[in-house]
Symmetry: C2
Subunit: 342 residues, 2 copies
């Protein structure tokens, strides 16, 4: 082993692809393996989905401004979001933690209060886990298991040309919430006398610290008999996710800037920081909204739901992946999403 | 939050119990939750099991003497062992890793070679995971999913008075393998000129670095139509596990020292280190053998299998939990198993 290749040269998605590309599925029960929001497993003709996330202090969260209860809640929600992104309903989770001795039992109780609050809100059961010490930092691993009616799961790779591209809720707020918290942290570190100024910013801060998963959207699909043609949750940013769907579906796409759902609070916060709200919405990440493609026939049903915005449509591969600006210009969509390996 | 309780005051099992005791199961599909080797989930009348482990560098493994390929293999095997301990067959795993930039891609390739070797050996599919950076140390989280015929899963709490206590394979070798590796490490650290002396110790070192899960025993149960009354895998040591079964089944037990299966290599290594082989077998841990209880009616079938030893039997609660020594004396069994939180 004389060669040394730096992991950072591949990026997160490249690394996962590299490590798993030669793996062949051997169980008939494995329907969808690595490469989507969650795996799909067939058990005796019925299907379950499984997804997992590893959260590491200093990489994925900063305890300086993250209350432990919120952290517990969010650790669960980000996994449930992946289950919903398969058009499935989460039912069970496991939670493993590694804690250093700087944590007290009271601190862990707070963290678990958040876990339990999320379990209650989303009707999932905590069924297992593992608890151990860590030499440094807090480590959280959550696995979520969900159920999906046979063959109703929705992958990333199955969008069709002409399909509508839709997103739930609004975008960019979580990124601005994080930006604000990071700014207040550096002010505090320079001068601990100054109290954080989070006045009027509860929306964006809340979106970052305590996101919700879009249970309601999946329920709406079931009620309205809509099956999206492709779907993902938005953890890295809309641009990054739309590129995943386009790449895996072997298609192009058009997004319209004027259709992107951005909350008023998000626009104001972006202006305050001198940032373009559109860029925040496209590349912000951590919103945990859903992006999905749907048949044009579903248009009438989709527009009835105030929590769904139609933001574009899928095109032929050779038309590229474009953002049409408010001024009518076409720009290439590039993934500037968060990259945990940078 | 003015109180501070040190986590170490509870120990690992106490901590898990404390954090999960108030959690109520709300999904009908959750059959067995926290507190066994794995959870059991009913999906449309069919049952799956789920288990997860978090492994942290410096706490659970030492890269100074653990080849990465072996580490990958073992990370999978310890989870599969929990699935077998439910009398289930593993089918899928997810693997999440956190790596610092001291790891090269070549190092990760080696680790995944071990993952893949275990997947192939045990016929399981890698179906997902998460890859991120860590600020310090290597972090591994593996979740395994298995299948079990309806109501054939085996818990820890269902042993009956008079049941035979059985163990697979032999005990104590992994602990002595670790002891040897730790000794060679300290010699090396004091004098890097001295080469490690692992001559003739491949059995105990192999048992520690590359354990196997007892797939064969579960298959034997199925062939012979044996359903153990209670079962666990031996990760903390036989004493600790037998106490779990006794406590959860509300019974006492008798173990016979002369029946404990100990390999000749293990005995020799114990003597070399001035340790009692029986103590190593009882408290060593990391053997990943199975301990199970079975009806006396199954005696004839059990003795036919050379990989199964009958080491004792379950008694009434008020008869206590006793080890009967070779000299005929009765000693209380105490759990001195490994405690990851110490």
């Amino acid at each position: 082993m004389s060669n040394r290749t730096e992991i950072s040269t591949l990026g997160e998605f490249g690394l996962i692809n590299h490590l798993t590309k030669n793996f062949e599925i051997s169980n008939a029960s494995t329907i969808v393996g690595v490469g989507d929001d969650a795996a799909v497993i067939d058990h005796y003709g019925k299907q379950i989905v499984v997804t997992t996330d590893l959260l590491i202090e200093g990489v994925h969260f900063d305890l300086m401004y993250t209350p432990l209860k919120h952290l517990g809640y969010k650790s669960v929600v980000v996994n449930l979001s992946d289950v919903y992104a398969m058009n499935a309903t989460p039912a069970q989770i496991t939670v493993s933690i590694g804690v250093s001795n700087r944590f007290s039992l009271e601190a862990l109780n707070e963290f678990y209060e958040g876990i339990y609050a999320a379990c209650e809100r989303y009707n999932v059961d905590l069924v297992g886990g593992d608890t151990s010490s860590s030499q440094k930092g807090f480590i959280i691993s959550v696995t979520a298991i969900g159920e999906v009616a046979p063959d109703k799961f929705v992958k990333r790779s199955t969008a069709n040309k002409g399909d509508l591209i839709c997103v739930s809720g609004d975008l960019g707020a979580a990124f601005l919430g994080l930006t604000l918290l990071e700014r207040e942290k550096s002010i505090y570190l320079e001068n601990p006398q100054i109290q954080p100024d989070l006045e009027n910013e509860s929306y964006i801060v809340g979106r970052f610290l305590k996101p919700e998963a879009r249970k309601d959207i999946i329920e709406y699909f079931a009620e309205q008999n809509i099956v999206p043609t492709a779907m993902m949750d938005i953890s890295d940013g809309l641009s990054s996710e739309v590129l995943h769907i386009s790449n895996q579906s072997n298609l192009g796409c058009r997004l319209h800037e004027d259709k992107l759902p951005i909350a008023e609070e998000t626009r104001l916060a972006a202006f305050k920081f001198g940032l373009d709200p559109t860029v925040c919405a496209l590349n912000g990440g951590e919103d945990y909204e859903l992006v999905f493609t749907a048949k044009q026939d579903d248009y009438d049903k989709l527009v009835l739901n105030d929590n769904i915005s139609i933001v574009g449509y899928m095109t032929e591969l050779d038309e590229g992946r474009k953002l049409i600006s408010k001024g009518g210009n076409a720009f290439d969509i590039t993934a500037q999403g968060w990259n945990a390996l940078k």
